[in-house]
């Protein structure tokens, strides 16, 4: 179980780096989708000995939402805005890659000093969550196109979801569903706003959103 867990989370962490290094938006969106699917499968792995229909349901909903519905909405927004590439971001590709890698290493190193329950030590669960959150922040802060920032937000949410899985045995299903619903609706709303911004400013370059200031 630990090995499958490490494999899935390790792949997700690898996808982090792909997200940080790519400049093409379709690749970024697909990366986030695959990461969502990988993490969505984790409840089945973690609770493999206590499977029940609710767990399967939440897994299916997460995979469907993060893997298909949300990327579909983002792709639609991207097509409507007719962009496919990121411009030179604030934090360049190589610095973001190195920051992300450095953060991942730091996460692995720091986890040793956190007080963890015995079943969570020695695997990639907590470092993975920290690495995903850091990657999400780097993308959120460092990119200029609105859709890239949204992808950063989604990776941040993935990291928090991974952290939330630490409590999987005690979190009620309703709460899980509520959180998933909120994230999905959030992306839907963001998609609408992105569309409106595109129509109003004729660009999704957030550096153009500077009219409001003191």
């Amino acid at each position: 179980m630990n090995d499958t867990l490490n494999l899935l989370i390790g792949l997700a962490m690898g996808l982090n780096l792909l997200a940080l290094g790519t400049s093409r938006l379709p690749v970024l969106i697909r990366t986030v989708a695959v990461q969502g699917v990988l993490l969505g499968l984790l409840p089945l792995v973690l609770e493999v000995h206590a499977l029940d229909w609710r767990l399967v349901l939440i897994t299916l909903a997460t995979v469907a939402g993060k893997g298909f519905l949300i990327p579909y909405m983002l792709t639609r927004a991207m097509r409507a805005a007719n962009i496919a590439r990121e411009l030179e971001p604030f934090i360049g590709y190589i610095p973001s890659l190195l920051l992300g890698a450095g953060g991942t290493i730091a996460a692995v190193a720091l986890t040793r000093y956190l007080p963890l329950l015995p079943e969570h030590t020695g695997n990639l669960h907590v470092p993975g969550a920290m690495a995903l959150i850091l990657t999400g922040f780097i993308l959120l802060i460092g990119r200029t196109k609105a859709i890239s920032q949204v992808c950063g937000y989604l990776i941040l949410e993935n990291g928090i979801y991974l952290a939330g899985l630490l409590l999987i045995s005690s979190t009620p299903i309703l709460v899980e569903f509520g959180i998933l619903l909120d994230v999905t609706v959030g992306v839907f709303v963001i998609g609408i706003i992105v569309d409106r911004i595109q129509r109003a400013f004729d660009s999704l370059d957030t550096r153009k959103l500077t009219a409001l200031h003191e």
Partner: protein, 301 residues
């Protein structure tokens, strides 16, 4: 068997088998393109032909122009002798020989660059600058991969360094070392060996002015270097030390062949990267080598 016979046999193995690899690559590329392609033994015929030819020397060049290919070839072959071959051990083995290997490869590159700049032509200088700048980034990758193996096995002698890594670590290291292999051996997507436009050459432009036997040494040295990296990659990733001797040698041969075919496929199917994107791919290769290091570190504690 006596040590000198062992060394001679290994030397012959490396020298004679190395030219096969570029032949295999070209054959794969031809098949993918739907052609017959040159015979697999083509490089042997090329080397023999070049050996019989005379040398065209520039009047500006110093004796360094002739010495450089010789020193480079010697360095590469010595480095190859340091590599163990799947349980049969290496020709020379001592603690820290991996550092000597890295430095010998660097020496070879230095000599090639020196030889290139001897002619005083602008293209060669440009190629040398590009090659060396990419090599710096590739070196980080190799050092990290070596560090991973050192931490995993606990020894810094090449003959005992190739302990098997855990599954994901081996996969990551394989990809990382493959990217480094492509970079160091000037293959697509870093450099196109078939280009005839000097402005787009990196490695080719450095050997543009050589002819005759020195050119033969350069081509042969490149083949040995490719085989060196392939053998290194195969042994770093596959758990060859756990298999019985004959099977491990056969597995090594098979995997070197597989790596060569993979290089050929990558050359056929991908396009060459724009220069400013090469550092990005090399950083990615470095990171692919870095993560097995973290995994082994984590596994240690």
């Amino acid at each position: 068997m006596p040590i000198y016979i062992d060394i001679v046999l290994r030397l012959l193995l490396w020298l004679l088998l190395a030219p096969l690899l570029p032949g295999v690559i070209n054959k794969v590329k031809a098949w993918v393109a739907g052609r017959q392609g040159p015979p697999v033994l083509q490089l042997y015929f090329d080397l023999a032909r070049l050996w019989r030819k005379g040398v065209v020397l520039s009047t500006l060049a110093s004796p360094g122009f002739i010495i450089a290919p010789a020193v480079a070839w010697t360095a590469v072959v010595t480095a190859a002798l340091l590599l163990p071959l799947a349980g049969t051990g290496a020709a020379f083995s001592f603690d820290g020989d991996v550092l000597l290997l890295v430095y010998l490869l660097a020496l070879a590159r230095f000599c090639t660059a020196w030889g290139a700049m001897e002619t005083g032509s602008a293209f060669e200088g440009m190629g040398a600058a590009r090659e060396v700048s990419f090599a710096v980034l590739a070196e980080i990758g190799i050092i990290t991969a070596v560090l991973t193996l050192v931490v995993q096995s606990g020894s810094i002698a090449l003959s005992s360094m190739f302990e098997p890594l855990s599954g994901p670590g081996a996969a990551l290291l394989a990809v990382g070392l493959f990217i480094i292999l492509l970079a160091e051996n000037c293959r697509v997507p870093f450099d196109d060996p078939n280009t005839h436009l000097e402005l787009t050459m990196i490695h080719e432009v450095m050997v543009l002015d050589h002819s005759g036997p020195p050119l033969a040494m350069i081509l042969h040295g490149a083949a040995v270097k490719l085989m060196l990296f392939a053998v290194f990659l195969a042994q770093a990733v596959l758990p060859l030390s756990e298999l019985p001797l004959l099977i491990s040698v056969a597995a090594l041969a098979g995997s070197v062949l597989l790596i060569t075919v993979a290089v050929g496929l990558v050359e056929s199917l991908t396009a060459r990267l724009a220069f400013k994107r090469v550092p990005l791919l090399l950083t990615i290769g470095f990171l692919f080598c870095l993560f097995p290091l973290i995994l082994t570190w984590m596994g240690e504690s």
